[in-house]
Structures are given as structure tokens and as C-alpha cells.
């Protein structure tokens, strides 16, 4: 274990640690551009130079392995001068696009200019011109003038996706990043390029000119796109979500996420959102909330009394949070011990579809919903549920958001066999069309809650944007339904309360609580989260 001294401070590190990483462990941030902790070392920006005793020239700290007895200075006059020189070369041809560049506010060149430079340009000649605003596919826009040739995008496409689309063309200062002529980006992680690019050379088309980043608030959550459960940040401003960025979690997704996950925030503003409760009595038009709830409660109660609780089924959802599935269980069970619970867990393999992050199971909470519903009395496998509906043995169902979303056309038709159907849904779809009552519920970005990923990892979501008037989180709707049905033991005032109850009752979650470190989102840092801006929380820029 080598021990070295950096700026007068001693530190012992694992063998093979670079000087840059050792400095980071001491809290010394050596400026760097091309270095990225999850990509191979390039050593081409030359900004991370440090003085090492007995080594004649300054060395790049990102590529120099720490040796025992090394004495390193990151702040000598020489090094500060070198940094300024190297930085000046970086901005020599960089266009002054800041007023129109999306990266402004989270741009390394801006940050380093304030830290290292703060000088007037001495350039008397023209800057080089290169292609700008080129759509290179997968929603990524290239601006070659802004590029500082750090080669992170090239390395990403070579090492992470293995697709090798990005290349550096030409030589000298005419070097340009780009894709092969006539070909575009063609992988499911292309938006990660907008993360790794430290400047505005690769930007997202979705986010283009949408919002200045210094207005954005950052809320941690979990992607609902598949069972991997990549950690994300939802960036929003004044109640509108603008983009999703990956949140670094070494054990789950590293610093990456797939493109499918990036666009899930568009669910929030999907034109098919259910905005108000809908009631069949009114021809599936909008009804007041009291009216809808009491109608639903009455309908379910009628079936319970008429055909017994065995004719009642709660259909959970692997898209809904643990809390919602748990409350469904509570509610249905309080209609009678013989009532049933089921979950559509068909085609929910955990295999990695693309070898990187995306899993075959397109649902974020199959594992959690299964643990909660599967262990309960009256659990009914889904095939049995479908045949029971066909045979009219099941008369009524209470369905969570997306609970029946993957039914085939045939199976949807069979639902008309049900006498009463209450659906808690965020979107209008073929299922909600069949319902007697539709209660509008929130999507993932509008709720507090937890998902359980494919490997049993319980991860928290935090509400990023408010719901529109009349829309509520699923767990709240279930509490209201319980209230109207005069069921007294399903009464909670926060998702936190539901989760703590869930942890007490479901064996899989035993020992956890809302205060557990993994649920509290990186521990005490979350408490400070409200004041941090996106560039401080998401970046390995």
C-alpha cells in the first residue's frame, strides 16, 4: 500500500491508484477534462498536470500511478501557470456560444475559466469554423466548434456500448468529432453522450432551449422503465419536468442509463392522462371525487355481500410502488379473508437484454409487488385469475395503475365478464374504457415511494413535480377508498407511514424503514438536496 504526500498531506492508497484519485481522496480536486472515472484513461487534455519530485517534467496525474514516497505538488506556481496555458489553448477555438448553448451553467469551460483563468483573450485571429447543429441520431445534436476533443464520446462508444460510432476525424486543429459519413448514432445509450460531453458539443434534442439549468431543481428517483432500477435525477422547474439524468450508483447503474429511461418523464405530460375521476354512470365522463369514490366503494361492497369476498380480486401492478401494492393488499383483505390478490408477472425475466443495463422485464417493481402480494392469503396466480374471469368466478376487481396493461386483445374483451371494475389509472387506455370507475393517479415522478429492483434492492422515489388538481398518488386513493368504505385500519397520512407499516408486515422488508440509509437516498446528503443545483449533484462531467 503506497504512501504518498500531496500538497503536504500524507495518504496511503491501494496499489494501482492514480495520483488524481489519491488527491480526490484527500479532497483535492485536480482540474481535468478528458478523465472520466468510468472510461479508460486518455491523457490528452493535459490539464491535470502536477509536479512530482524527481520527475523532471510535470506529469499528468490521471495516468501516473502513485508510488511509495512520491511527493506531489498540485499548486506550485509552475503548475498554476501550466494550467492557465493549457486552459487557454482549450478555449482558443471555442466559440463564445454561451448565450445560446444549453450547457451554460453546467459547463466545465465556464467553471474552469472562473477558477483558473479570468483573463482577457489575446486572440487576434479568427477562430476555426466547423459544422454546428448537426443531428447525429438518437436525439443527440453535435456542434463540432464547441468540441474540445477530449475523446470521452469516442471512448464511451468504444468501451461501454461497443458500437464505435463516434470518431475523431482529421488532424491538428481541424480535428472534428462525428459519426462516419452517412451513418448516425445507433445504440440505446446515446443520450449518455450528452452526460459525458463536458461542453455543449453533444446536446440533447429533447432539452434543447427548454430551460436554463440554473433554474432547475433536482430530485432523486428511480427509473420505472425496467427492473434494473437505474438511479435517476428528475430535473424540474416550477412544477414542470424537463429532463432525466442518471444518478451515480456504483452498485446499480454506475453513471449510465439507457435512452428508453430518459424519455419516461414525458409520461407526466402525456395527453392521455386521466385528469379527473371517471364514472360509467356518467358515461365515463368526469365525476366528482366523492361521487366516484362512494360509487366504487358501493360497487365493491355489493359484490362482497352478493357473492362473497372470494369473488373479489385486487390486481396489483409491477409498475406501482411497494406502498401502493401493500395498501391494495390491506384494502382487499379487509373485504374478507377469502378475497384474492394477483399480479401480472408474465414475461418478466430479469435477463439483461442488451448486456449493459436494460432488462427484459419492463417493470420497475415486479420483485416488490410479488413479495407483497404473493405472500398474502388468497394469492391467485395470474393465469388462474384470467380463467376465473372468463368463467365468471371472479365478479369484481380493483386494479392498480398499469396492472392489466399487458393483456392481449382477447383478454381485455374477457374483462367485460366482470360485474364491477374499479381502475386506478394514470392513462386512459383499453382497460380504463372497461371500468365502472376510474380514479386518476400520479405517475412515478409525482409520488414518494419505493421500488424493488430485480435483485431485491429497495430504492426510493421522491416526488419531483406536483400532480394536477384532482390527481393523487395511488396510495392516497386507496386510503380514500378505505375511508369511504368505512375500513378503519387502512389510514395513512404519508407514503412514509405506509412504508414503515409495510416493513413491519411483509417478511421481505423486515428490518428496513423509511430511515434506513438506502431509503433515505444517500443518507444525510438528501437533507441538503433541496439547495443543490443539477451540476453539483449529477455530474461526472
Amino acid at each position: 500500500m503506497p504512501t504518498l504526500t500531496i500538497d503536504g498531506q500524507e495518504i496511503t492508497v491501494e496499489p494501482g491508484t492514480t495520483v488524481l484519485k489519491a488527491a480526490q481522496q484527500l479532497g483535492i480536486d485536480i482540474p481535468h477534462l478528458c478523465y472520466h472515472p468510468y472510461l479508460q484513461i486518455a491523457g490528452c487534455c493535459r490539464l491535470c498536470l502536477v509536479d512530482i519530485e524527481k520527475m523532471g517534467k510535470p506529469q499528468i496525474s490521471c495516468a501516473t500511478i502513485a508510488n511509495d514516497g512520491m511527493v506531489v505538488r498540485t499548486d506550485s506556481e509552475d503548475i498554476l501557470r501550466h494550467r492557465k496555458n493549457v486552459f487557454e489553448f482549450h478555449v482558443k477555438n471555442h466559440p463564445l456560444d454561451c448565450p445560446v448553448c444549453d450547457q451554460a451553467g453546467e459547463c466545465v469551460l465556464q467553471d474552469y475559466y472562473m477558477k483558473l483563468g479570468l483573463y482577457q483573450s489575446r486572440l487576434q485571429d479568427a477562430k476555426l469554423h466547423k459544422p454546428k447543429r448537426v443531428d447525429i441520431g438518437c436525439g443527440v445534436i453535435r456542434d463540432s466548434e464547441r468540441c474540445i476533443q477530449c475523446s470521452r464520446c469516442v471512448r464511451f462508444c468504444a468501451e461501454v456500448t461497443g458500437t464505435h460510432e463516434m470518431v475523431l476525424f482529421n488532424r491538428g486543429d481541424h480535428t472534428e468529432i462525428g459519426t462516419f459519413p452517412g451513418q448516425n448514432l445507433n445504440n440505446d445509450y446515446a443520450q449518455c453522450l450528452t452526460d459525458v460531453c463536458p461542453v455543449g458539443a453533444l446536446t440533447s434534442n429533447d432539452f434543447r432551449f427548454q430551460c436554463r439549468v440554473w433554474f432547475l431543481q433536482s430530485t432523486p428517483s428511480v427509473c420505472p422503465g425496467c427492473s434494473t432500477g437505474c438511479n435517476i435525477y428528475i430535473h424540474h422547474h416550477q412544477g414542470v419536468a424537463y429532463r432525466i439524468k442518471p444518478r451515480v450508483n456504483e452498485e446499480v447503474n454506475g453513471p449510465w442509463m439507457c435512452d428508453k429511461g430518459r424519455s419516461v418523464f414525458k409520461r407526466i405530460t402525456n395527453e392521455n392522462r386521466v385528469k379527473q375521476p371517471l364514472s360509467k354512470d356518467r358515461g365515463l365522463q368526469e365525476a366528482g371525487i366523492r361521487e366516484a369514490l362512494s360509487g366504487a366503494a358501493a360497487g365493491l361492497k355489493k359484490i362482497q355481500e352478493q357473492d362473497g369476498p372470494g369473488a373479489l380480486v385486487g390486481v396489483g401492478s409491477s409498475q406501482a410502488t411497494n406502498e401502493e401494492n401493500f395498501l391494495l393488499r390491506q384494502l382487499i383483505k379487509s373485504f374478507g379473508e377469502a378475497s384474492h390478490l394477483t399480479l401480472d408477472d408474465r414475461n418478466c425475466e430479469d435477463t439483461l437484454e442488451d448486456g449493459i443495463l436494460f432488462r427484459a422485464d419492463p417493470n420497475p417493481n415486479t420483485h416488490g409487488a410479488k413479495e407483497i402480494l404473493g405472500a398474502a392469503e388468497g394469492w391467485m396466480p395470474f393465469e388462474q385469475f384470467l380463467s376465473s374471469v372468463k368463467e365468471k368466478k371472479i365478479k369484481a376487481a380493483l386494479v392498480l395503475d398499469y396492472g392489466l396493461a399487458r393483456l392481449s386483445e382477447e383478454e381485455v374483451k374477457d374483462l367485460s365478464n366482470l360485474e364491477y371494475l374499479v381502475v386506478i389509472s394514470s392513462m386512459k387506455d383499453t382497460i380504463s374504457e372497461q371500468a365502472d370507475v376510474v380514479m386518476p393517479c400520479a405517475v412515478f415522478a409525482e409520488v414518494d415511494g419505493t421500488f424493488t429492483s430485480f435483485d431485491g434492492r429497495v430504492q426510493p422515489l421522491r416526488q419531483a413535480v406536483p400532480t394536477s388538481q384532482g390527481v393523487k398518488p395511488g396510495w392516497e386513493i386507496l386510503c380514500q377508498l378505505a375511508d369511504v368504505s368505512k375500513i378503519t385500519d387502512v389510514r395513512y397520512s404519508s407514503a412514509r407511514g405506509v412504508f414503515d407499516a409495510l416493513c413491519r408486515e411483509v417478511p421481505f422488508f423486515a428490518g428496513k424503514s423509511w430511515n434506513s440509509p438506502e431509503i433515505l437516498v444517500a443518507g444525510p446528503e438528501y437533507i441538503k438536496m433541496g439547495g443543490l443545483k443539477p451540476w453539483q449533484t449529477w455530474s461526472f462531467r
Partner: protein, 424 residues
């Protein structure tokens, strides 16, 4: 002064590139001697004793470099002969390749035997089409006579030689960029460490030597390393090829012993200055070394130490002689344009610095120089030195610094008067 023609023994003979001419002159005897009578260690020992320093420009002792090759690697060892000859002013290697290719091939074979390599690449610059053909023909001639191929001369030493053509990049003369190019990638130098002797071509241990260096090996093996070391000076042994261009009466390639006085070289071998003009400046070893004023070249001998003491470098031996009628501002502009064109673009100080310096000099020569330009040039050159992946950045910065230091008056005149002090 008498000295053996180690490198230029055959070049004046008709059809000197043919193998029968080479054999008649005693060629391939060293290879036979080594393969049949010397161990690999012994061959390396002779080269070490000769203390021959790399003739490509860096001057690193070849015997020491060969000693770095690990004996226990699980990957094959390669030899890359650096025939890129990109340094401006240098045209000595092409002489050997055109006129005496078998001398090079014998040297390659000896080196491969010494480091236990069985595959050699000759990385030849793309512009040398004719020379590549000559080399390929020579390889076939050698193969037909069993000097290359399987079981050479009846021993169990196999060797194949591949001529690999470059595609027009000066940077591919840098050893790791050369390796990248052979591997099919863009010619961008690698970070060192690891050094090519440990991890080189296709991740195997690799020796990279210049054409001239390898071409001296046959003589060293035949006559002994100490005989080679007896020529030249103590630290700069043997003979060196100088390719001289510029305003002299007899430009061309000359083989002279190290330590030869420059004054004598200019007056006698080069026939003095053309048209009787005055000598103004000398670039002794390719454009990447500092330029020397005429007074600085007085009493300078042509070897590594002497030129270094005088303030420049022996480099590749590409000597450019400049007379009094040359505008140094324009000369620097032309050099700067070369480096800007050739920078690979990988690291920032070189990529942007070479471009910027070339822009400023174009502007000055175009008559639009500004007051701060000279200060900027100096600071930019300083900012490019000592902190890049490969020395191209230093090579681009050194001429700028030396020209500005020694001919500042010409630059100041040009900026102030918008025309050359020398040519008007």
C-alpha cells in the same frame, strides 16, 4: 581524414541495389557470422560496445534499447524499422533504401536475431512509393537466396520482413504513433509508460530503430563494436549521414565521422556557399532543433555533445544552410505551417498551439502583424513545451523560440514596417 565508409560503401556502384552487387562487395557475411558463430547475447554485446546512438534524432544508445526487451514475454517480439523520415531537411534514409537496401535488410536481420524477433516491419512513409518497391524487390531477392524466410542459411532462425506503407503523417515517425499506424488505427502517440520495449506492437515487446542505425549493424558485427567506437568521439561514436540542403554548392547526403569540424565540412565537402553569398544561419539537425547563427557555429564539431554545448541538437542530421538573403520571418512561417499541418490533434497544447502560431506568423508575413504578437508567440511556445504526449509540440515550439531569440530584430522590423527587413 580517413574513415571507413560504413553506410555509403556501395552507393556509387552501378545497380548497387541488386543483391549480387551487394554480395560481391562482401554483403550478408555478417549475418552468416552471427547466425552460425555468435549467440544472441554476443551480438547485443558488440552493439553495446559500439555505443551506436539512435540515428533518427533522439540519440538513444541502440544496444541499451535492445537490452530492455524482456526474455520471458509470452508475446512475440517485433522489430519496427522507422523509415518514415519525416523530419524536414532529412533525406538520408532514402539514400540507403534506394541505393543499398540490402545493407538495411542485413541490419534488420541481425537486430532480429539479437532480440529474438521473427517478424520485422519496415514502416516507410507513404510518399516513398518508389523506395517501397525497391525494398520489396530486395526482400524477394534476399528470400530467394535464403537470407530472409525459413531456416535462414541453414540455421533454425526464421524471419519475415514486411514493408508497411504510411499515409502521409509526420507524427507517425514517433515510435508509438508508428505502432498505432501499423495496428490500423489513427497515428496518435500513446502515453509512455508503458514503453514499446515492454508493450509495443500488438501488445508485444518491440524494438524501433531508424534505418541508418540498423544499417550500421552489419559493419559493427563484421569488424567489432570497439572498432566502431574508435571512430568519432568518445560519446558520439561511428559515422553519421548528413543530408545537407540549402545555399551550398554541393548539397546532398554525406557520410562523415562524428566530431568532424563544421567549418571544414562547409568549406571542403559542401564546396562553400553558393554564388559566394554569406552564411547567415544553420539548422544542424532537422527543423525541430534550435537554429544557429553563423557565429555560434564557429569551432563547432558535428557530434551530439559539441552541438548541444553550442545550443542546438544533432537531431536527425538534416542540415539546412541559410544565406544572408533569406528572410527568417518567412522561414519560420513555412516551418510553423508544417507543424500545424502535422499535429495529430490528440493533446490540446500542440493541437491548438501549432495552429495558433501558424496563424500569427501568416498574419505577420501578410503585413498585418500587431504589437503584442511577438510576446504572444514566445508565451505560446513556452506553453507548448514539456507537457504533451509526444515531443511534436516541443519540436514545433523550439524553432519558434530560437528564431525569436536570435533574429528578433527581423520580426520587429516586419511588424513595424509591414515588409521583410531582408527581402523587402
Amino acid at each position: 581524414m580517413e574513415f571507413p565508409r560504413i553506410l555509403t560503401n556501395n552507393i556509387d556502384k552501378p545497380d548497387s541495389h541488386r543483391i549480387d552487387v551487394y554480395i560481391k562487395a562482401g554483403g550478408y557475411k555478417s549475418l552468416e557470422k552471427a547466425l552460425k558463430g555468435m549467440s544472441r547475447d554476443e551480438v547485443r554485446e558488440e552493439v553495446k560496445k559500439a555505443n551506436i546512438r539512435g540515428r533518427g534524432g533522439a540519440g538513444f544508445p541502440a544496444g541499451v534499447k535492445w537490452g530492455f526487451i524482456p526474455k520471458d514475454s509470452d508475446k512475440p517480439t517485433y522489430l519496427c524499422c522507422n523509415a518514415d523520415e519525416g523530419e524536414p531537411g532529412t533525406f538520408k534514409d532514402r539514400l540507403i533504401m534506394e541505393k543499398d537496401p540490402h545493407l538495411l535488410l542485413e541490419g534488420i536481420a541481425l537486430c532480429c536475431y539479437a532480440v529474438d524477433s521473427h517478424l520485422a516491419y519496415i514502416y516507410i512513409r507513404g510518399e516513398f512509393c518508389q523506395q517501397a518497391s525497391i525494398l520489396e524487390e530486395a526482400i524477394e531477392e534476399a528470400r530467394a537466396k535464403n537470407f530472409i524466410g525459413q531456416k535462414i542459411l541453414g540455421t533454425d532462425f526464421d524471419l519475415d520482413v514486411i514493408v508497411f506503407r504510411g499515409a502521409g503523417a509526420y507524427v507517425c515517425g514517433e515510435e508509438t504513433a508508428l505502432i498505432e499506424s501499423i495496428e490500423g488505427k489513427a497515428g496518435q502517440p500513446r502515453l509512455k509508460p508503458p514503453f514499446p520495449a515492454i508493450i509495443g506492437l500488438f501488445q508485444g515487446p518491440t524494438v524501433i530503430n531508424n534505418v541508418e542505425t540498423l544499417s550500421a549493424i552489419p559493419w559493427i558485427i563484421e569488424n567489432g563494436g570497439d572498432k566502431y567506437a574508435a571512430i568519432g568521439t568518445e560519446k558520439s561514436t561511428g559515422t553519421k549521414l548528413f543530408s545537407v540542403s540549402g545555399h551550398v554548392n554541393n548539397p546532398g547526403v554525406y557520410e562523415i565521422p562524428m566530431g568532424y569540424p563544421f567549418d571544414k565540412f562547409l568549406a571542403e565537402d559542401l564546396g562553400g556557399m553558393k554564388d559566394g553569398k554569406q552564411l547567415k544561419a544553420v539548422i544542424p539537425g532537422g527543423s525541430s532543433v534550435p537554429v544557429m547563427r553563423v557565429e555560434e557555429m564557429e569551432n563547432v564539431n558535428l557530434d551530439y555533445e559539441s552541438i548541444a554545448d553550442a545550443g542546438s541538437m544533432l537531431g536527425s542530421g538534416g542540415m539546412i544552410i541559410i544565406n544572408e538573403e533569406t528572410c527568417m520571418v518567412n522561414a519560420l512561417r513555412i516551418l510553423a505551417r508544417f507543424y500545424a499541418h502535422e499535429s495529430c490533434g490528440q493533446c490540446t497544447p500542440c493541437r491548438e498551439g501549432t495552429g495558433w502560431i501558424a496563424q500569427i506568423l501568416e498574419r505577420i508575413v501578410g503585413g498585418d502583424g500587431k504589437e503584442g504578437d511577438l510576446k504572444d508567440l514566445g508565451e505560446l511556445a513556452d506553453g507548448m513545451m514539456g507537457q504533451t504526449v509526444c515531443p511534436l509540440s516541443d519540436a514545433a515550439a523550439m524553432p519558434v523560440k530560437s528564431f525569436l531569440e536570435k533574429y528578433r530584430d527581423e520580426f520587429e522590423y516586419f511588424i513595424k514596417n509591414k515588409r521583410s527587413m531582408v527581402t523587402g
